[in-house]
Symmetry: C2
């Protein structure tokens, strides 16, 4: 593609937390980033907020020279190769946005949604450009957590998925390509089973919320930042993963047969956990601290892996 | 306790991977470590292997001056306050070992098993000293992964659990105290549900084994080394964990109701994963590399948390 030779143009729709983090991801990779938010106040403060984000994450604020805030969606998406949409998780609003994006953008532009809750078919259906629409689901915030789930709808073209994967690699994110649409994608399906079992053990009084967190933080999670669950079990038996599943598969199968289900998401479990967690008033400050730690971890892993 | 004033004496039963890692944990904390293995060849090479472990993990080999290899179990456990047993995961052998330990040790000594598969009641039942027997389940290898699940049997005294918890803190491990015996303890129950869902998604072709691992490595796992799953969701909604569960609980409940069960541990899934993983011949070298990375991560987290 001739675009590979020149600066890549990317539109960011929405200037909230996720939209800003995406803007930084693309800007620090040298893309020309065109940001728009329907709210004029958001547009007015977005560059200052991006400077603050850089300061906290240790990113070079010079990257922000690549970001332009536009006053209309039409200007923002003009001539871009990729639109990263970060609108509200509301089906009616998403449908309206995609109808407009499909109309305003060049036919070869890819339209990617940051949605974690809605699958592409739900808002792409019926649109002429549905073959170029997918979900590119980041983890919040994507400038310090690199994984991006690429989830096609039934009409998304394989060539669009290929280009999506290549772009994510080019901007130093880690794309995970799903073969088809599935509720929760991969990441939240994995998170859901952990939360269910965790809440159930806490509600039964087997372990405290802090003990549960320590089990992951200072145990399983330590391996998983290097290896992931599959590579982990591949090293947990002399003969690799097949050997592991032969030795421990029956035990693991029994544990998962007896694992908690949806009923674990109970009011009582929520109360027990909330009683041991920092208060909601501390959430904003703790989130900033988390993001600063994640930025440091990202650099550590980059130099040690 | 007067023992707090003097050097703590610890016996390690078994000189394999786990026993050696435990020896290092206690030795670098300044304990007097007395190691015994029934196999004379293991005893003969254990100090060299410990030196090699220190070299790879960056631990000061001077700590090994605190380790003595004894030629009988009776000598090893004489006058110790804690026995860390690392025998095979075989119920008959465990019962024999604990009958002997109960006979050979001072009545106030605590007998702790590294077992991941057997609960304390299964080998402590009927012994006079069953109140001082518990499982202290480490993650392999404990000198670079600090969590230790402390799981009592029905007869384990609360005072024994208190002392166990204090000792683990004193040697810089992270104890997670369970209130009662449960199959798989906490860590393997959490691992089991992740593996089941992961293997099912892979077997269905939704995601590749490498994509699955990337989702955790470069996604969820990044947060979990700082926060754990409960502290993570406490920051994922403005009003904290209660707000999170109100907003996303129904979705997470639906996903866990539809999650994979024991049947996911299939031959077919094992084959698909094995085909994308490093070959069994690479397991020893990759395990050493993993442990070296874990040692570096441990130092990173220690200085950044």
């Amino acid at each position: 593609m001739s675009q590979e030779q020149t600066t890549r143009c990317i539109a960011i729709i929405g200037g909230g937390l996720i939209g800003r983090a995406w803007a930084l991801v693309f800007a620090r990779a040298g893309c020309d980033v065109r940001l728009w938010d329907p709210d004029q106040d958001v547009r007015a403060r977005v560059m200052d907020e991006l400077s603050e984000t850089c300061r906290r994450s240790g990113d070079d604020p010079a990257a922000l020279a690549h970001v332009t805030v536009l006053s209309s969606m039409a200007e923002a998406v003009d001539k871009v190769e990729w639109v990263q949409e970060n609108g509200p998780e509301n089906l009616e609003i998403k449908r309206e946005i995609y109808a407009e994006l499909d109309r305003l953008t060049a036919p070869q532009a890819i339209l990617a949604s940051s949605s974690s809750a809605l699958v592409a078919s739900s808002f792409a259906q019926g649109l002429a450009g549905r073959a170029r629409i997918l979900v590119a689901h980041p983890v919040n915030p994507p400038h310090v957590i690199p994984v991006v789930e690429l989830c096609p709808g039934p009409d998304t073209a394989p060539e669009v998925m290929n280009r999506a994967e290549a772009l994510m690699h080019a901007v130093a994110q880690v794309p995970v390509r799903l073969s088809r649409e599935i509720d929760g994608f991969v990441l939240n399906r994995l998170q859901a089973v952990v939360l269910a079992e965790a809440l159930s053990l806490i509600e039964q009084g087997v372990v405290t919320p802090l003990g549960l967190d320590d089990t992951i933080r200072h145990g399983l999670g330590r391996r998983w930042v290097f290896l992931g669950p599959m590579a982990t079990i591949n090293l947990n038996a002399p003969g690799g993963v097949k050997d592991y599943l032969k030795r421990y598969g029956p035990t693991m199968a029994r544990l998962s047969d007896n694992a908690a289900r949806g009923e674990a998401f109970s009011e009582r479990a929520a109360q027990i956990v909330a009683a041991q967690m920092p208060a909601p008033s501390e959430v904003p400050e703790l989130s900033l601290r988390r993001d600063a730690l994640l930025a440091q971890l990202s650099r550590f892993l980059h130099s040690n892996n």
